[in-house]
Symmetry: C2
Subunit: 158 residues, 2 copies
């Protein structure tokens, strides 16, 4: 059994996967996301949502300075992270993880320098929340094509 | 027409209602919520969600120290705020506002000392996000019953 705040082992250095609490209430539950006293908290810059429609893929993106903290309160996604950092001990690794309630309500922390993307799983839209450490800044992120030949992953829209 | 970041006049002193951006994308949009450089930002303590099922009511709550920043990315709610603060210029006022996309994607900032609650509108669950200035602390909030005689508002589950 997993406990709140428990970390799940990640195959990419610097990626932290943390189990978040879901507190039952017969009127609708409370879902934790981020606290300023969490061990993984590195600052607050912005909170925003990315919605993703069924069958859609949003990939690839890389941030130069900003740390991402993602969780999925609505729907289900596959999050894929690729480590292409020159000096990383896990360079070349792909991490693929499903996120969604109730069994996979994790917060995934992605440090700058990693390529990532996501797609929906199943027939419904998903809502991804992101609490970043720095507010959005133009030119701070890079986009790559879905089929970038440098990235050893093939997206399948389900 | 309303512009991003535009403030809507509030009938209760200290309550700020701000229009949030919704950025269109054919794969699913991006929804702003809070930035650390927003004029209304007073610090980051916690980000969490409150889900509310159709027909449910969550009321009343009052925080002694914590400021709430609420928005509704999924579903639709009626948020009701009652000002019972002794020294408030708007003491006795009820503020009732619908929140939900696409027409009412507002961030509502509720300072400490105000009573508030919400119910769903329509047949679907809603998801409320809250970015508070202080992390949750036991004993920092007070609950009142749905039909508290001191509060001049009657909840109707729709």
């Amino acid at each position: 059994m997993l406990d709140e705040g428990m970390s799940i082992k990640s195959s990419i250095a610097g990626v932290n996967i943390t189990l978040l609490s879901q507190i039952f209430d017969e009127r609708g539950g409370v879902l934790h996301m981020m606290r300023s006293d969490a061990p993984e908290f590195v600052g607050f810059g912005e909170c925003y949502f990315s919605e993703i429609f069924p069958g859609a893929i949003k990939a690839w993106k890389l941030h130069l300075k900003q740390t991402q903290n993602l969780a999925v309160p609505i729907g289900r996604i596959r999050l894929v992270i690729f480590d292409n950092r020159c000096s990383s001990s896990t360079r070349g690794t792909i991490l693929s993880i499903e996120l969604g309630r109730p069994d996979a309500y994790f917060r995934v922390q992605i440090p700058p320098g990693l390529l990532y993307g996501f797609c929906t799983i199943g027939p419904t839209s998903a809502l991804i929340v992101n609490c970043t450490d720095l507010p959005h800044e133009k030119g701070e992120s890079e986009l790559r094509g879905l089929n970038d030949p440098e990235i050893p992953y093939t997206w399948l829209s389900l």
